[in-house]
């Protein structure tokens, strides 16, 4: 800052923080607007009539109507959208539960025990994070076909019961490693066996990490499309993702507002959860990268 010794500089330098803040805010508002606008337009469009969607860039409907929701909810199939939402939950809820339980148990084993070959097993765990899922797709399909699991939800969450999502296991391992050991040692001295240490001490303490894992798995499973696409064939078992894809194939040309309305509903659970719990997402996504 040697140049600030020059008195002539003082005039504008004094305003530098203000200019700086102004430029930053301006940029952030512009980018933020472009980021969020497609979502606003979706929600607004859900309340417009079709003619208006095609004719206006604004997102606030001029004559709001719930036709999109009413007709969209009926869907072009014999089931209402409620069926698809319920189906999604039938997949997502068990998937989240088994992911959390298996990931916590395996992470505990990795983080706290001297296991023979731990280094190699951990390397394998990390390799599963980087392994493209499509290389496993066909054999898994054939395997589940042999099991007689086609057109059931089992292929969508049975693997997750075995800690197959390395990313989540890694997240929890990182979190456990950052905990001081002596709390668990105190519990051992108080008479806990290792499983009691896990359930009574470790789990309550790493609850934020557990919530992060649950939320991420929830979001990713809500978004999942390829797996249901392959495994589910009866429309009555479709989750929202497949139902939406089906409805654009059928009605896209005519009823945009219905599709936008159903898209809005499809995103609503994720949106609400995100706003309620965004700090857990931030913690989750950064725990692997920064602490590690």
């Amino acid at each position: 800052m040697a140049s600030s010794l020059n008195p002539a500089d003082h005039g504008w330098r004094k305003h530098l923080p203000v200019i700086n803040a102004f430029v930053r805010y301006g940029l952030l508002i512009l980018v933020g607007f472009l980021m969020i606008y497609p979502l606003l337009w979706m929600i607004g469009g859900a309340f417009k009539n079709n003619a208006e969607i095609f004719s206006s860039v604004g997102f606030i409907p001029k004559s709001p109507t719930t036709d999109g929701f009413i007709n969209g909810w009926k869907t072009s199939t014999e089931y209402t959208f409620a069926t698809y939402l319920l189906n999604t939950m039938k997949i997502v809820v068990p998937k989240v539960i088994v992911t959390v339980i298996s990931s916590v148990i395996v992470a505990y084993g990795f983080a706290r025990f001297a296991i023979p070959g731990r280094k190699w097993l951990f390397a394998l765990l990390m390799a599963t994070v980087l392994l493209p899922k499509s290389v496993l797709l066909i054999p898994q399909y054939l395997m589940f076909r042999e099991f007689g699991w086609l057109d059931t939800y089992l292929p969508l969450y049975a693997p997750q019961a075995f800690a197959t999502e390395g990313f989540f296991v890694f997240m929890i391992i990182q979190f456990m490693r950052s905990l001081p050991l002596d709390m668990e040692e105190a519990a051992v001295m108080d008479g806990c066996n290792s499983f009691q240490v896990l359930t009574l001490i470790v789990c309550p303490v790493i609850l934020p990490a557990i919530i992060s894992v649950a939320l991420f798995q929830f979001m990713w499973s809500m978004n999942d499309f390829l797996q249901p696409l392959i495994y589910l064939s009866s429309v009555e078992k479709y989750p929202v993702a497949l139902a939406l894809k089906m409805s654009i194939d059928v009605t896209e040309a005519t009823s945009w507002n219905e599709i936008l309305a159903m898209s809005t509903i499809a995103l609503a659970p994720s949106l609400i959860l995100f706003f309620l719990a965004q700090k857990y997402f931030v913690e989750g996504v950064t725990s692997g990268a920064v602490k590690g």
Binding site: G32, W41, P116, P139, M219, S263, F274, A289, V290
Partner: protein, 299 residues
């Protein structure tokens, strides 16, 4: 009790079983399948061993070459742009100002929702002939572009969807930026380093571990993109957005060529493996870990 290896092994048993059953076995099986002419509708016993002919067939398959080219283009465009943009916005956000949390939320949201079918559907409508983008362009006097109907613009639309999801990379960068001690900048100020110099001499080197993490994650994810392109463009027009994962899916579940599809998936696996291996190998040359800060101080 913490040294009891058998109890510890018990805890990781689910992983070992899951790894063998759902990862290792399918992984090897997929390679074995890639050496056969297995078809989806037939019993596996009916498949014949065909050696490497699925792989040699690829060399002559113009669809594969097209798909490979498109995939590389997609990855090479989206990954650097996304990382650069994420880093840029993170630096802008890394400032003590009111409402920063709000912006962070707004920027992060798309990367949480972006992989969903609902967003892909919205994207289709944004880029449709009478969609949002064309309406907006009409407002400033630009005539209707057939976004999803032209090869270049179709690619552009799916690239944009990926860039729109820069938030998760940004949040990681932001956490990395916040972890850089303030006193380094204060010391640099006293040494008379300009802001730009400080960015390149302090911020960037200390951010390389985070950059490395983001780079690996983005490469791996970009090579596997499926939902957006499948729903928005279905790989078209003229296979201009026909990414390899789309081709793998269609070969297996539309054309029932399990052998060929498995071979394609192995090619995808090898490409990703090479990229990650090169990245990990190269990291000692450019990734700067805080632990060996003293050793590398002389650079």
């Amino acid at each position: 009790m913490y040294s009891n290896k058998w109890i510890g092994s018990l805890y990781i048993t689910p992983f070992v079983i899951g790894f063998l059953l759902f990862t290792a076995f399918p992984f090897i099986a997929s390679f074995v399948l890639s050496l056969t002419d297995a078809r989806l509708q037939d019993q596996l016993g009916a498949a014949n061993f065909v050696g490497l002919s699925n792989y040699t067939e690829m060399a002559a398959d113009s669809t594969f070459r097209q798909s490979l080219g498109v995939t590389f283009a997609y990855v090479f465009i989206t990954v650097p742009l996304k990382l650069a943009f994420a880093l840029f916005i993170a630096v802008v956000l890394n400032f003590k100002l009111k409402g920063i949390g709000l912006f962070r939320t707004a920027f992060y949201l798309p990367s949480i929702l972006g992989g969903s079918v609902a967003i892909a559907v919205v994207w289709r409508f944004v880029f449709a002939g009478d969609g949002l983008l064309n309406q907006a362009l009409a407002g400033i006097g630009i005539g209707g572009v057939n976004w999803l109907g032209e090869p270049t613009t179709a690619m552009f639309s799916i690239v944009l969807l990926r860039l729109w999801q820069f938030g998760s990379a940004m949040v990681v960068f932001l956490a990395g930026l916040k972890a850089i001690p303030e006193d380094l900048y204060e010391a640099a100020d006293l040494d008379g380093a300009s802001r730009l110099k400080q960015f390149f001499m302090i911020t960037l080197p200390l951010l390389t571990p985070v950059l490395f993490f983001n780079f690996i994650m983005q490469i791996v994810q970009a090579f596997q993109e499926f939902n957006g392109p499948y729903i928005i463009t279905a790989g078209g027009p003229l296979k201009s957005s026909y990414l390899l994962p789309l081709m793998i899916y269609e070969e297996a579940f539309k054309y029932f060529n399990l052998g060929y599809s498995s071979a394609l998936s192995w090619v995808l696996f090898i490409i990703i493996a090479v990229f990650t291996a090169v990245a990990f190998w190269s990291q000692k040359h450019w990734v700067f870990y805080a632990q060996d800060r003293d050793d590398k101080g002389g650079h």
